[in-house]
Symmetry: D3
Subunit: 134 residues, 6 copies
């Protein structure tokens, strides 16, 4: 029940094929999941989204890959994105997140939501000690 | 500009004093920030929120304390909670998050928001490979 | 720090004056709060918003006035609307909500947010028993 | 299409059985809905969520049970939680909410959303009269 | 999997029939989509929602019809409303939005979400130049 | 009250200076607003965000510049981003949006929010006619 129609043969377009090849090589897997197949309706948008996601998730950085997927999933849950929640929790599991860690992630996300709502209701002044500026 | 009035002398109430004492002891600091001072308008609510936050953030668990604060901040950003964003980014910094790590956290949160919105727009079917169930 | 400029003398416009008069009469008070003064930048929008709010909050209906303001405030908290949260919690207090009831409202809102996030993460199938349709 | 796998025989775990027994006894019904069956993947999380929900919804308090479910549903709608919206509207109906009251609830939630967005756009200053503090 | 039960024969109610007739006439089409069939569970709510939507989308105004549907869809995506996203993107397509324009719309919505999250995290002071007031 | 500390002399860093120069040249103005001054705490993040925003807003495309800013503002309102709402409404005004058009934008955003919440509550099935796929 999508709002765009994925191309029947996406890799017939060389720009799409180049992105799909890079996805397969970067991940070391032949599996190209639906988000990329549907984004192929517009090759420029596909290129842009893959470039963004690759920069954040597929390139070594200060935060380890499993944690990056967990943070990504946490934001996806808060934004009520069904596909993103499924895909990034699955990626986190593929990178080693255990069921116990997934439960702890849910506990953090849920407790944050609880206090977010309480403080959006109470609206206390922000303590000077929390400001980054002098 | 809060919606509740904090007690002038919150620790005159022994239930409030017990929570504040536990906050100070748990954190090893005399600083009790505004959220607790305002929540003291209802001692039962104060006790409940502190119990929840302590269970998630102050007790050793599978996820290290700095990462827990970063996940907590990520959700707070997505939920547009001003106070929570300030307080949990400050806590993450107090637990060792560097400016470079904070920048990477923002990059993950922002890229997640970008793809969350694209996928909430496209609504592709969820790949069978992402489901936890058989 | 608003994004529209309120008219210096809003009631010079007869359409604005008519709305302000109705606000004062409906509420039995001379106080016209800022939302109406700023909405006066566009009399048609002012008329529409007042008509909507009056229909929901100022006309006797199945749900009592205090409860209506509490539900209104709950949604405003979830939508992170600062002005709305302040104004509808204040209205609920003006209609009899006690501090203890406000604390209970926050507890419901916060617990709902907690389970909302957990279930947006888990995405269990909806039980057949919950469907309104046969 | 869930992100966790519910145990095939959840009540084989005595912690899960204890929670399910309490759910059945508290509600006076043998029906244990899916959220609890899926949360059983982590007994500690199951215990915590049930404790929270029971404290808010199943224990007599200042706000009557039907109204509590309606407030809970209102927040769930604003947070776009599909499962929560279905389950809490169903619970409100089970506690006496009529179709006319459900229509009025939707009207309040929808009008709140409308003014929430307008005021998040206009950002007028908060009237001094709305502040809880002196 | 709806939370209200649509009437089996909605147009048996003259108030519902009047709205459906106006929908068909306004749109020049016999197709009455599901939102109206389900809203018919409460004729007063149906009348109100149709009046609102007609005023915004079906009446000539300063913003052209295709652009109005695109703005409506953008908000629906941000609010994670599945039905609304489908229906308003479909309406925009029916009013001439091309696949390339839909891709550009997604790019704007997604980039806005990205910077929204970054700025909800950083919380810089608002430049005086942006204020509408003197 | 920001969560990052802007550099005292941001353009001392050549990467920051290059972005600021491009902002000034692209916009034909010497004004560099706060978001860029604060993002300068991390030159790589500054470069990335400017590249994204420039690609969407500063480069001629299918949608005219004023409309792009209005769509951007609509999403920012829905995401409750205070800074973004101010800055993109100001940009839209600078590109020709009149007060009457701003009022119409608010009416579209607000009505969308109203129906978004109603349909997230009712959850009717999506009409087959709305699907992009065959």
């Amino acid at each position: 029940m999508a709002t765009v129609k994925p191309p029947a043969d996406p890799e017939a377009d060389p720009r799409v094929k180049a992105v799909f090849d890079d996805i397969r090589e970067t991940r070391g897997s032949d599996f190209v999941n639906n988000v990329w197949r549907y984004l192929a309706f517009d090759p420029a948008l596909l290129e842009e989204v893959w470039r963004d996601v690759k920069a954040v998730l597929a390139i070594p950085s200060l935060i380890d890959p499993k944690t990056k997927e967990m943070i990504y999933a946490a934001v996806s849950i808060a934004n009520a994105c069904d596909y993103c929640t499924h895909s990034h929790l699955a990626s986190a599991r593929a990178k080693g997140m255990t069921a116990a860690e997934q439960a702890e992630l849910l506990r953090i996300v849920a407790t944050a939501a609880k206090t977010n709502h309480i403080l959006n209701a109470i609206r206390p002044p922000i303590d000077a000690a929390f400001l980054a500026e002098d």
